[in-house]
């Protein structure tokens, strides 16, 4: 293949990739038990955020979460023996992405956990994400004590079944229009989800009231959603996964289909290169820390939530959410505009359905092209929470982090070889 032919083929393939992204019809359809809904998730299997990793290389919060999940599943009686079981190879570790799933921060998914089910009704695929546990001491930040496990059991036995029944009763909640409204209300869907959480609660409340007879139980459901501004994050993540999976495997496409981190390594996958991971060490977010904490307490970047940036939200939609720029220490409202403009340089297109009022209703940058990333020297910007580096303490701040350029350079070399121009 000549260089001219290769360039034309990549342009055409990338146009197809973005076409699929824009044609997606993601619908929040159900909450199901992970082990029943996710094909192949069986036995003592633990799904985690990021590219593949084994117990020896896991960071503190990831190990803490794994130990907690093992106790939650009843595979060990206490955290100590759970850690010993994991260290001895007594559980199988796999990335969420391998099982059509995603999870925030540590991202653990185990068979008994409830997962939200997002159907991409344009392509017939489904994607999964656990329920957001709320703020404070939670498993996604490495929490694993009795309080954390009790909340997870209530999510599995109380919240999940009721929320799933309500979603089925409502016929699902279409997510693209909800995201569009959220963008106009100041959300970027990674570190700010207050508008979309409210919109979702407003949409599902009547169905919840119809399927839950016990008024006290219903009130607790409403309180849980209404008391957690980030409840919608996990919905956005499952939606991102449902949108991006049909983009995998388009020959000749240099569009990124996944960005993800496990607290140790950052990984990306590229449409024309199948499900191969290109990895590099994660970076430390720059941001603001809660009182009493500093960068010395922080764990490096972690979580599958970068699927949100992969579809053009989060750091790519910073201009929609000036309040986030301050929260993550990224500067002023004017800076927020520049963040989004910078991401336009590395994207294939703009999404005409997800627009940003402050940019004269320009669409969010859509379809990250590894060629543009390497050529521009502009790595994707990610808005993220920051976990304490020790298990069980939780979130200590929020910030901005960049995807490591080395991932894109490795992928570019592999892509050139795949295209026959290396």
């Amino acid at each position: 293949m000549t260089a001219g032919d290769a360039a034309a083929a990549v342009e055409a393939a990338n146009a197809r990739a973005v076409e699929r992204m824009l044609a997606a019809d993601p619908v929040l359809a159900d909450v199901a038990v992970a082990g029943e809904a996710i094909a192949g998730l069986e036995g003592r299997t633990v799904l985690h955020a990021g590219p593949p990793i084994g117990w020896p290389d896991m960071c503190g919060p990831m190990r803490g979460a794994v130990a907690g999940a093992i106790v939650l599943e009843g595979w060990a009686d206490d955290l100590e023996s759970a850690g010993a079981l994991a260290a001895a190879g007594g559980v199988a570790f796999h990335p969420n992405h391998r099982f059509d799933a995603v999870g925030p921060m540590t991202g653990l998914t185990t068979p008994s956990m409830p997962v939200m089910v997002v159907e991409n009704r344009a392509f017939g695929n489904r994607a999964f994400c656990t329920l957001n546990e709320g703020l404070g001491k939670v498993m996604r930040f490495g929490g694993n004590d009795a309080e954390v496990l009790a909340r997870l059991r209530w999510l599995a036995d109380g919240f999940g079944p009721a929320f799933g029944a309500a979603l089925r009763e409502a016929g699902g909640i279409a997510l693209k229009p909800l995201i569009a409204r959220g963008l106009s209300m100041g959300d970027e869907m990674h570190q700010r989800n207050v508008a979309c959480t409210s919109l979702l609660l407003r949409a599902i409340a009547p169905a919840l009231a119809r399927v839950v007879d016990d008024r006290a139980a219903l009130a607790r459901l409403f309180e849980f959603i209404g008391g957690n501004d980030q409840f919608f994050l996990n919905v956005a993540m499952a939606m991102g996964k449902a949108i991006m999976d049909p983009v995998r495997g388009i020959a000749g496409s240099s569009v990124v289909t996944a960005m993800s981190r496990n607290g140790t390594m950052f990984g990306i996958r590229v449409s024309g290169l199948g499900d191969r991971w290109f990895t590099a060490p994660v970076e430390m977010p720059r941001g603001l820390y809660f009182p009493g904490f500093s960068e010395a307490d922080a764990n490096p970047d972690m979580g599958d939530s970068t699927i949100v940036e992969t579809v053009g939200l989060g750091g790519f939609a910073m201009a929609a959410a000036p309040a986030v720029a301050g929260f993550v220490g990224a500067g002023t409202a004017a800076d927020a505009l520049d963040y989004t403009r910078a991401m336009e340089e590395i994207a294939v297109a703009r999404n005409p359905e997800w627009t940003i009022p402050a940019l004269d209703f320009a669409g969010v940058p859509t379809g990250i092209d590894i060629r543009k990333v390497v050529a521009s020297g502009q790595a994707p910007t990610i808005n993220t929470g920051i976990a304490h580096r020790e298990a069980g303490i939780g979130q200590v701040g929020a910030g901005v982090v960049r995807a490591p350029m080395a991932c894109f350079e490795q992928a570019l070399q592999a892509f050139a070889a795949e295209m026959g121009v290396a």
Partner: protein, 80 residues
């Protein structure tokens, strides 16, 4: 109250001429008190606003392809 230094006292003894640079609200506040003020429309160069001199600090970039000749060649062949 401490006595003012003599040069400042001399300045304030006569009519005061105010030249305000930047935020116009300061000039308008003085005018509201009957004090004449000349407003100079000025803002810091590359003030960080839209188009104001490149990406903000958190969006720093590397040189294209990190200056790596081999990557630049690959990009040329891939049409970037």
């Amino acid at each position: 109250m401490r006595d003012r230094p003599q040069p400042i006292q001399d300045l304030l003894d006569g009519p005061v001429a105010v030249v305000n640079v930047g935020l116009a609200r300061f000039a308008r506040t003085l005018e509201g008190q009957g004090i004449a003020a000349v407003q100079v429309d000025w803002r810091p160069p590359a003030g960080g606003g839209p188009g104001g001199g490149g990406p903000p600090a958190g969006v720093g970039r590397r040189p294209p392809a990190g200056g790596d000749r081999r990557l630049i060649d690959l990009l040329d062949r891939l049409g970037a």
